[in-house]
């Protein structure tokens, strides 16, 4: 089963490099890259560490269903505001 994640999005939004995130959660920076690319599924411990680092619930970062794109989210938010 595919595990989708939004680590790259959160990392870019917070201006955090892969190496900084890797050091904060105690893994190799290649592991963060493989996670972002979907080549590796994290353990529950690592997933929770990453969620704790970004101070968000784990389901905001990881999902079995594809995440809505940022463009779609903005479009929906704009439509709701009108």
């Amino acid at each position: 089963m595919t595990l989708y994640n939004r680590i790259a999005l959160f990392r870019t939004e917070r201006g955090v490099s892969r190496r900084e995130l890797a050091e904060a959660v105690g893994v190799n920076n290649q592991t963060i890259g493989y996670l972002e690319r979907g080549d590796y599924k994290p353990s529950l411990e690592l997933a929770m560490k990453i969620a704790a680092y970004f101070s968000v619930p784990i389901e905001l970062l990881f999902s079995f269903r594809p995440f809505e794109s940022v463009a779609d989210t903005l479009r929906r938010a704009a439509a709701a505001g009108e």
Binding site: R19, V27, N28, Q30, T31, Y34, R37, Y40, L46
Partner: protein, 169 residues
């Protein structure tokens, strides 16, 4: 400068310290271990088919075989990381890759050893070669050892996805 200081300088000048202290970035070696295995087998066959140790073919085989053995040791240090250091402990992904690579490698070597035992049990039939000389057995032992070094590197290299460029480089 004392002899020890000179030797120490040589280590740093040749870059051996980078391998010994694992300062090099690990790389995936998907084809090189296969090439080394082929050279290893070629060297062994050349030594085994030459009955006379004074024959030049024997020494060519010896050079190929032990050159490949040395290369196996180096490839293990250059390939995917199997050893943790104080500065770079293995993370959960690397530990998984290491465990799987060694498990598969162990299964392959055990299967080869099993078929080797069956092969050795075949009675002497003209044309079928069996190791008989002492050096045949010694070389075979080193060959298995080289296989034990190369197979985990080869398997782990195929398990590792393509590397991702470092965003801080």
């Amino acid at each position: 400068m004392t002899l020890l200081e000179k030797m120490d300088r040589v280590v740093y000048a040749t870059g051996i310290d980078r391998i010994l202290f694992r300062k090099m970035k690990p790389r995936t070696l998907r084809w090189t271990p296969l090439l080394v295995i082929v050279v290893l087998i070629g060297g062994y066959v050349l030594m085994a088919k030459t009955e006379n140790v004074l024959d030049s073919d024997f020494w060519i085989g010896w050079l190929l075989f032990y050159g490949a053995f040395l290369a196996a040791a180096f490839l293990r240090a250059l390939g995917p990381r199997f050893t943790a250091t104080v500065l770079h402990p293995l993370d959960e992904r690397e530990l998984t890759v290491r465990a799987r690579a060694h498990a598969v490698s162990g299964t392959v070597l055990a299967t080869l050893a099993m078929f080797g035992c069956f092969y050795m049990a075949i009675p002497s039939i003209p044309g079928i070669w069996h190791p008989h000389a002492t050096y045949d057995w010694i070389n075979l032992g080193f060959g298995v050892q080289a296989g034990g070094m190369l197979l985990p590197t080869l398997i782990a290299s195929w398990m590792e996805p393509d590397p991702i460029p470092d965003d801080e480089d």
